[in-house]
């Protein structure tokens, strides 16, 4: 058999495989639609959330970060409210992707829970105080910790910041569980530490 014939056969076989794969992928995609939109903000319903029993307004915090001028990004989202009921409206108007400042305020004022999407060893090394660990590469590992909350519970999911995608994977999974009030802290854990906000450390993975 000539080399040319072997190459020709190989190319034809390769094209056949590509065609088969395309057919399989097309059928699969038809029945299992996927999207890069992890969170449907239109389903958000923060009115149902029970606010934190401790009413904290920005003016009452002693966090130096809160005393500084708000960033342009914050101003663009909404003015910071003074009472809890306004915090609900403020949160309702937030974009899905938020920064450290908004993540902190959601926890302080609306009892949001934090979900760390990084691997357990990174979580054990340091995480947002009180965060649950749901590692993106194996969400089922600790996903059980997040079952049983009210569907209106606010979750703030974060990973290592920058271009990390773990928080989106976990947000997608939480959305599948029926949670509608989901936010992604795109600044991630490093920014949380840089802001001097409270962190926790554990010896093993799991919620603290």
């Amino acid at each position: 058999m000539s080399a040319l014939k072997a190459v020709k056969e190989t190319v034809i076989a390769g094209l056949a495989m590509f065609g088969l794969a395309s057919i399989g992928a097309g059928i699969h995609w038809t029945f299992v639609p996927v999207s890069l939109e992890t969170i449907d903000a239109s389903k958000r319903n923060i009115e149902l959330v029970t606010p934190s029993p401790v009413e904290v307004t920005p003016a009452e915090t002693d966090d130096p970060a809160d005393m500084t001028e708000p960033t342009d990004e914050t101003e663009a989202v909404a003015a910071e409210p003074a009472v809890v009921t306004d915090w609900v409206a403020w949160a309702q108007a937030l974009p899905v992707e938020i920064g450290t400042d908004e993540a902190d305020k959601l926890g302080l004022n609306l009892a949001a829970l934090y979900v760390d999407a990084r691997a357990p060893d990174a979580f054990a090394e340091g995480h947002v105080l009180g965060a649950f660990n749901v590692p993106a590469d194996d969400p089922e590992l600790y996903l059980g910790d997040l079952l049983g909350f009210d569907p209106s519970q606010i979750f703030v999911i974060y990973c290592s910041g920058g271009e990390c995608n773990e928080s989106k994977i976990v947000a997608d999974r939480l959305g599948d569980l029926g949670y509608v009030n989901l936010f992604i802290d795109v600044d991630g854990y490093p920014a949380w530490v840089d802001a001097g906000l409270p962190v926790g450390v554990v010896e093993t993975g799991g919620g603290q």
Partner: protein, 188 residues
Amino acid sequence: MTPLEGTLNTLTLLLRLGLAVVMGFAAYNKLLDPGAFVFSIEGFRILPDHMIPAAAFLLPWLEAVIAVALFLGLGGRAAAAISAVLLLTFIGGFISVLARDLSVDCGCFGKYKLLCTPAVGTEANPDAGRNFIWCKMGENSLFAAAALLVTIWGPGFFSWDTPFGRRKAAAADSDAGVTYPRDDAGAV
């Protein structure tokens, strides 16, 4: 068939089956959760958003077809060639990620791993993410080398294409009056 050819046919058989298992495992885990795989692809920041869902389905299906082809030795050389191209493309993606200092979880085997444990840089180990990428490049290089060997030498023993070894040997036997039914049937 010389002893050397026999050894090479055995070696390529083992490499072919090994690649089939790796490809099949990768495909299975991606196909289980394409919704998560889209974010793994997005993490590379290479493809435009509108192409990512298509890639999230096409890639694992291609891996699945390749796995079956490699296992059966049906178009084994072509399957190995596509594997090599895929793996070299992945290596290119990892080089790009390193160059841009991104943190990715490639989602190569879903929640499982072979040689490399997914990691991101932490305060205690800031290079963990980069080390993971280097490890993946090494892992893929091994698989790519195996795929290239199968592409060059052929699928080896017990393949649908050449049941008793390399097609060249089969053709030589054919010239000598020995025929193999599946070759004669014009299998790809």
